[in-house]
Symmetry: C2
Subunit: 458 residues, 2 copies
């Protein structure tokens, strides 16, 4: 089965190819990539095509390549093996697929070697394919190596296109957002009867499966929000726990959502939990209010840091003036990650290219503790989709570190902090589109204020 | 988080290492393997350790290696990076893991190169790891190449151990079977209100997620059972459809179940569906009744072929004597795959070694249409776990093939066959343990007779 592409989407794909042609004067060959074997060759992980391929070809076609030149697309794809009809049913022929994606020409894969002269590419993630890329192009094309020469020029051109989303992309991103909102609502509803984290995760991922979507990344559903990338789901849900849930859908054409909510297992925040929750929410709301074209995303990050510092001062956890606290990274004791990242075909969009997409040319990562994890450092432009995801965590590796405690001895009221022991981790994350006027929260249908969240859990 | 191993399981692991030592007089190094990136390096598919590693080490430890010699296990593993505590929480130290799995020594990975002399290995599935294996051992260790020399000796030794299951393995396999039975019951229950296949799949996989298990293979949940490996889930469920569901769980330690049921969407089989269903069920029951030590699995396959041929003769679809029909592979027009396969840590157990596990030494695949897909050809022994999965399918690629129609022109009553158009595909599959006395069906708690299945759907 192939997804049917609307004629609008085929037009979108052709526009993307033409836009690429306006940026580069050499051909580009993009491979879709192969499946990854799980424990033996025939037992594979679900197929995920390369995002760069998907951007121009639209469909996840395994083991294909497209050659883009002057706005034209040549599809390279082998016909299905005769035996495959027995096992996999009638697989569309090369010509049918070519027509579906609006290809100008379709050829067998073996002919690709006659068409590689002067072509740029981007490494896929799977070894079978990047080995093939390296052999055909007669240079190392490795996912871990930053692109060079024309490959770098191609990468920059693609970044400049993928940084802002066209109508075709937005239609997919809105679908991913809507299904993600539905999944979170299902997760909240499942909490009352759930005994362990895994039951909430099951209720949420079942919504994705029902919509023929997948998770865009491995779900986080945890009462131990202090572990930032927690992929365990076996802990019991106990009264007094907060459940931090970072779960997002990916559509069949590969577009992602990325949403976090934190809700009280018992449907009631404790007063300390509510206090911190409202600090995080204030940061979240303040950031979104500032999002508009021209604003520096790094300033949004610093705004979140500042609002969090201010809130923690008001709660008596930090001491000093918010701006001074941010200047010495005191906010990062509790908010050690960036305020968010680009979102698109990848949940960290184009992160396969390192910081090429996330960082404006000439900018590099800060060495500051409070800024180094920022994944996006560019002025915002209409059509960019970013996450806004402030948080508060009591990470033992940070707060129990002797150097940290010594450096921030007088800045943190450590005694007061102990009263917030029931707040291990809180994050609120939404997907925010930069518009001409300001912003639109694609995931706004999922409430984030404390009272409404409590009502939903009940 | 590490799964806690019972002392009984640690003893089991040590026994397996001792048994290996009784079979080979050279050291073996088994790598666990790495994660596979999905669309960028930090966004990975869920981790699955190599089954051979799991068999001796018990736990899925990423990026580890074990060196087995004379019954002793040396664990090679790097300590978690200091930064990992921030993102992933406290990861157990090498020594803790070593103790948990009963290792005799634990060393950093960098020391492994001093211990490779004369060691055999088995290729992992991920390229990063088999590249490392090849470099350290100074020979090509590729998953697609059959093992040679001492690697082949090691593979044969491991096959001889993994062919039959010890108590530790059986405890896991029973868990996988029980959760799979629960998932199928949930899927049957979800059918009444489901509009598309995906909803039934969601209800089933949610059961696995709830139990912190995964699918052992990509689920098949389809009203188009005639496509044998159908991984699409978008078709509507319509009255009169049969839903063919092949879904199995895998435990956290990697042990698999593999179960298929076929049920009527509307809760009632049509008379033609019931007739064919009962033919498949008769084959299923006859095969299981024959399973005992010493019986040739290929004979079980031929028994299934014969019962199916007989049933189709009775229904007027085939003409002739069952044994004659089987001799000319007429059964394979409708039952084109093997009666089953080994089941263990892999759903096709040890298929990473080609037919080394499935085929008794000296035997090779038949070129006969009706036998070539048989994955297991050995005499049965107590402790073997096999699937029994007869089926009936109207595969267009077979039945519409001009050569097939010509060859079987007089053997098939093509006119009569058209009356069975509402039977696109039926399979009944259970997991059967060979015992000293005969057999035990690990998945027997899931009914398979037509009336009970109908009652469950209602």
């Amino acid at each position: 089965m192939l997804i049917n592409l609307s004629s609008a989407l085929v037009n979108t794909l052709q526009e993307r190819r033409q836009q690429l042609a306006n940026l580069i004067d050499f051909p580009a060959i993009l491979w879709s990539g192969n499946t990854n074997p799980r424990n033996f060759p025939a037992n594979v992980f679900p197929y995920r095509a390369s995002s760069h391929f998907l951007y121009f070809a639209g469909l996840p076609i395994p083991n294909a390549a497209i050659r883009l030149e002057a706005g034209k697309l040549e599809l390279f794809l082998n016909e299905p093996a005769p035996s495959s009809a027995l096992w996999h049913g009638e697989i569309p022929k090369r010509e049918e697929i070519a027509e579906k994606i609006g290809a100008n020409v379709a050829r067998p894969m073996a002919e690709l070697e006659s068409w590689v002269e002067g072509a740029a590419t981007i490494a896929t993630q799977d070894a079978a394919t990047w080995t093939q890329q390296s052999q055909l192009l007669n240079r190392w094309v490795l996912p871990q190596n930053p692109p060079q020469g024309i490959d770098l020029e191609l990468a920059k051109a693609i970044v400049s296109l993928r940084l802002t989303h066209d109508a075709g992309a937005l239609a997919e991103l809105r679908q991913a957002a809507a299904v993600t909102v539905a999944a979170h609502k299902a997760g909240i509803a499942a909490t009352a009867s759930a005994k362990i984290e895994a039951e909430v995760r099951a209720a949420m991922e079942a919504v994705f499966i029902t919509h023929n979507m997948t998770t865009a990344y491995n779900s986080i559903v945890t009462v131990h929000g202090e572990v930032l990338h927690n992929e365990h789901y076996h802990h019991p849900l106990q009264p007094g726990d907060l459940l931090l849930v970072d779960v997002g859908a990916e559509t069949r054409m590969g577009w992602a959502a990325d949403v976090t909510r934190t809700w009280p297992v018992s449907s009631k925040f404790s007063s300390t939990q509510r206090d911190i929750y409202n600090v995080v929410l204030a940061a979240h709301d303040a950031c979104i209010a500032q999002i508009r074209p021209g604003v520096e995303y790094a300033d949004i990050h610093l705004l979140a840091a500042s609002v969090i510092a201010e809130g923690l001062v008001e709660l008596g956890i930090l001491r000093g003036y918010p701006q001074d606290l941010v200047a010495i990274d005191a906010h990062a004791l509790f908010f050690p990650h960036g305020i968010g990242h680009l979102l698109g075909l990848d949940v960290h969009d184009m992160e396969d290219l390192g910081d090429l997409a996330g960082y404006e040319e000439g900018r590099t990562r800060s060495h500051r503790f409070g800024l180094g994890y920022l994944r996006l450092n560019r002025p915002l432009r209409p059509g960019m989709l970013v996450t806004i995801e402030p948080g508060f965590y009591q990470v033992p590796a940070i707060l129990n570190d002797a150097n940290v405690r010594s450096k921030y001895q007088n800045v943190v009221n450590w005694e007061r902090l102990t009263q917030f022991a029931d707040v291990r981790g809180i994050r609120i994350e939404n997907d925010v589109l930069v518009t001409d006027e300001g912003s639109e929260v694609l995931t706004a249908a999922l409430p984030s204020d404390a009272n409404t969240v409590e009502d939903l859990v009940l």
